[in-house]
């Protein structure tokens, strides 16, 4: 998710000024998307230029308050309704490293697999402990941790599979 879609989603929920958008974006995503206020304002400028948001006056403290426009609502709905294409997602460094090690005879894929397994299992242990300790944390934070836990778990299963295939 880009900052753009996050801002549109928040503005669809109600008008906000720039700093409020930064705070709400971080809260809603459990800090998964850290943003600085400068990024928020530059993105708002682009969205305004493209007619997806508009200034809707100023608040009590003289700050510009933004609103979503009808075309902005269309862009937001399109984004929400399109599943993420995982096949087209960014290059996966672990996958590249392991597969390159297998392909090129001079490198030792087992060492790469073992090193990665130790690192990922350690992360999974940390995440598991973190979630157990933070039972009272907010829903966004829990769901974000769950997501990281499932990813680490999938990676460990994949490493086992790779190891079986290259032994």
């Amino acid at each position: 998710m880009g900052i753009k879609e996050g801002l549109l989603a928040l503005l669809a929920d109600g008008p906000r000024h720039g700093y409020q958008l930064k705070v709400d974006l971080e809260t809603a995503t459990a800090d998964a998307i850290p943003v600085n206020v400068g990024q928020v304002y530059s993105t708002l400028q682009r969205l305004e230029r493209d007619g997806l948001v508009s200034k809707g006056g100023v608040d009590d403290e003289g700050r510009d308050v933004y609103e979503i426009t009808a075309p902005g609502g269309d862009v937001l709905r399109d984004w929400l309704n399109s599943p993420v294409d995982l096949a087209a997602a960014g290059r996966d460094e672990i996958s590249m490293k392991v597969l390159i090690a297998i392909f090129t005879g001079g490198l030792d894929p087992k060492a790469v697999i073992e090193g990665q397994r130790t690192a990922t299992m350690g992360l999974l242990q940390d995440l598991t402990r973190f979630r157990a300790e933070e039972e009272d944390a907010d829903v966004a934070w829990h769901l974000h941790l769950d997501r990281l836990i499932y990813s680490a778990e999938a990676e460990l299963k994949w490493l086992d599979r790779v190891e079986e295939r290259v032994r």
Partner: protein
């Protein structure tokens, strides 16, 4: 450091003879300290269950020594061995092994009564154990009146009831949904934080991650994967 609760030294286990000979375990060393929770991972047939059974005196190693709470299992008489199995060690198996003619509470309290506890005391501990696994007030039901997941939880309660030093669990979350499975892992953790030790076999990385130490069995040998004591602070992760 104090003596490990479980100490396995140069454990070998061979099945069959001649051309059929299979080395299930080769020279395995494994310690579990007091308060420590260790997970054994590895693919099916890697020897995980065999190692667990040897740790719990349910199977004998071909070579090597096992000591549990300071007693070398090889030196114990059959009677002493049976007592160690009942008193010091708690087992949670893949199969529930519940006795169909006994209620859930009786299934749990029976081993305690065999050790000389009064029926009332044993029954009270059984009720506590049942409530810990989320089966409050179901102690009077017979196994065939319980779902598969509930029967598994009774089996878990039976394994964890009373003051055990060493808990051995073989895929304890097998038939349980994720939330109930997690509550079982939390129970094992709590027992370890109270001073018991646990050794768990699992093929699920997410369950293994509840342990302080994760090891893997591969070709009959132990590989250390990761150590993250739950007791130490973890504040710098995020």
């Amino acid at each position: 450091m104090s003596e490990p609760v479980l100490k396995m030294r140069r454990i070998g286990k061979t099945h069959g003879k001649g051309a059929q000979r299979v080395d299930a375990l080769v020279d395995v060393n494994l310690d579990v300290a007091a308060g420590e929770f260790v997970a054994i991972t590895g693919r099916s047939g890697s020897g995980k269950t065999t190692l667990l059974n040897i740790a719990g005196a349910l199977d004998e190693p071909t070579t090597g020594n096992v000591s549990v709470v300071g007693h070398d299992l090889g030196d114990l008489s059959n009677k002493e061995l049976a007592r160690t199995r009942r008193v010091a060690v708690g087992y949670v198996f893949q199969q529930f092994n519940l006795l169909p003619a006994l209620t859930a509470a009786e299934n749990i309290s029976l081993p305690l009564e065999l050790d000389g506890m009064t029926t009332a005391e044993a029954r009270e501990l059984a009720e506590v154990a049942l409530s810990e696994v989320g089966l409050d007030g179901m102690g009077d039901r017979y196994p065939d009146q319980l779902s598969g997941g509930e029967q598994q939880r009774v089996a878990i309660a039976r394994g964890l009831v009373g003051p055990r030093s060493l808990l051995l669990a073989d895929e304890p979350t097998g038939a349980l949904d994720e939330a109930t499975g997690e509550s079982v892992l939390k129970l094992l953790r709590e027992r370890c934080e109270a001073g018991a030790s646990a050794l768990m076999v699992t093929h699920e990385p997410a369950f293994a991650a509840w342990a302080d130490r994760v090891v893997r069995l591969r070709d009959g040998q132990i590989e250390e994967i990761s150590v993250r004591s739950f007791a130490t602070s973890n504040a710098d992760l995020f």
